[in-house]
Amino acid sequence: MLENLGEDKSIYIQISEMIEDEILRDILKEEEKVPSTTELSKFYKINPATAAKGINLLVDRDILYKKRGIGMFVQDGAKERIRESRRNSFYETYVKKIIGEAELIGISKEELKKMIDTEK
């Protein structure tokens, strides 16, 4: 989660995606505590309201939950929920881009499929 923040997306979305990535990679496990908004805002030098917005996005999607007075924790089943939502956007985010680029430089669909098949 220590990557630099970029300018290509809203900061709060980047915060929420970083936490998601950590959960996907098992760096943050289910029922484990995630960094607080204060810790996040200090580390990234961002307004605590922005960090909170990123965290709340994940609370709304049942990825994180709040333990009163203790902090934010990874919800049971969070990893599977993230995987599912990323699977749903996989075509839009990745496949479309690859097909577009392949068309532009004259790689046929068959060649593209072959590349995928031979990739180990």
Binding site: K42, N47, P48
Partner: protein, 292 residues
């Protein structure tokens, strides 16, 4: 929640109209960024908000009470101004120590322990005369006074101007720590927008003596776009929006768009990218220059 409100503020210096009818509302518990070009009136506005400078017309109130010569209101605010290394009598010979003692007497919530901690952090020699300090050290003193004042509404006018990159990072961190802990209101003016943009919950952009923008930073950036592509397609795709700073390279064109609300359906033949606060500000100002 308290509110610091400036209503119809006009400020003329002789024939020079600096502030033309400014309406501004500062809600407490937020970090504000104040940006604008050199000479646009940022310092004038901040000094009027804290009653250090009378407005030609208009009124400033805190929770409905006029702040002018109102001790109760002024006790809640700190406007830590840039220290001057020279006075009309020559070099400023006041020692840092004495300067801090004055601040301690002046601000009723002054936190001496915090001040000492900050002096150590910024490596300031208290026995030195103000006139002998470097530009960065002068900036550090204004920051120390602002933070240690513990004032409910704290205003910092270009606090990082003389600071090196390490000290600037320290400053941003201190502000966040203090804000996270106390929820104090900070109004920070700066020209180093890129570094500070993500600190600001709300941003105020002054342009031509008026408030051009007063908005939540995220909301503002969510309706700003950099649109590029083939010139005719870009023109067509952006014709319904407010467009700033067009640039052309061959058949390509790039513009900055500020829509009234977020747009999700730009023509798919143009490239749509987000805009940073600094680039949005730059585009808006470039536009103004072109019209003039």
């Amino acid at each position: 929640m308290s509110k610091l409100v400036g209503k119809s503020i006009v400020k003329n210096y002789g024939k020079d109209k600096v502030l033309k009818n400014i309406d501004i509302e500062i809600e407490t518990g937020k970090i504000y960024g104040l940006i604008g070009r050199n000479g646009v009136g940022k310092t004038t506005l901040l000094s009027i908000l804290t009653a250090q400078n009378p407005a030609t017309s208009g009124e400033v109130t805190l929770d409905g009470e006029p702040v002018w010569e109102n001790e109760k209101c002024l006790d809640r605010m700190c406007y830590s101004r840039e220290l001057s290394p020279v006075t009309i009598f020559g070099t400023n010979n006041i020692k840092v120590k004495e300067y801090l003692r004055t601040a301690k007497a002046f601000y009723k919530n002054w936190d001496q322990e915090y001040a000492e901690e900050l002096i150590k952090l910024f490596n300031i020699n208290k026995k030195k005369a103000v006139g002998k300090l470097s530009k960065g050290q002068l900036s550090a003193i204004t920051i120390i006074i602002a933070l240690a004042s513990k004032a409910e509404i704290t205003i910092l006018d270009e606090p990082v101007a003389g600071l090196d990159v390490v000290a600037r990072e320290q400053f941003y961190k201190l502000i966040i720590e203090e804000y996270a802990e106390t929820g104090r209101t900070f109004i920070i003016s700066t020209h180093i927008i890129e570094e500070a943009a993500s600190l600001f919950e709300k941003v105020i952009i002054l342009e031509d003596g008026q408030v051009a923008i007063e908005e939540n930073t995220e909301d503002l950036l969510a309706r700003a776009y950099r649109i590029s592509g083939q010139d005719t397609i870009v023109d067509e795709a952006t014709k319904d929006y407010k467009v700033f700073h067009p640039e052309v390279l061959g058949h390509n064109k790039v513009v900055t768009v500020l829509a009234d609300e977020p747009v999700s359906n730009f023509d798919c033949r143009v490239q749509v990218e987000p805009v940073s606060l600094q680039n949005l500000f730059f585009a808006m100002c470039s536009e103004e220059r072109k019209e003039a």
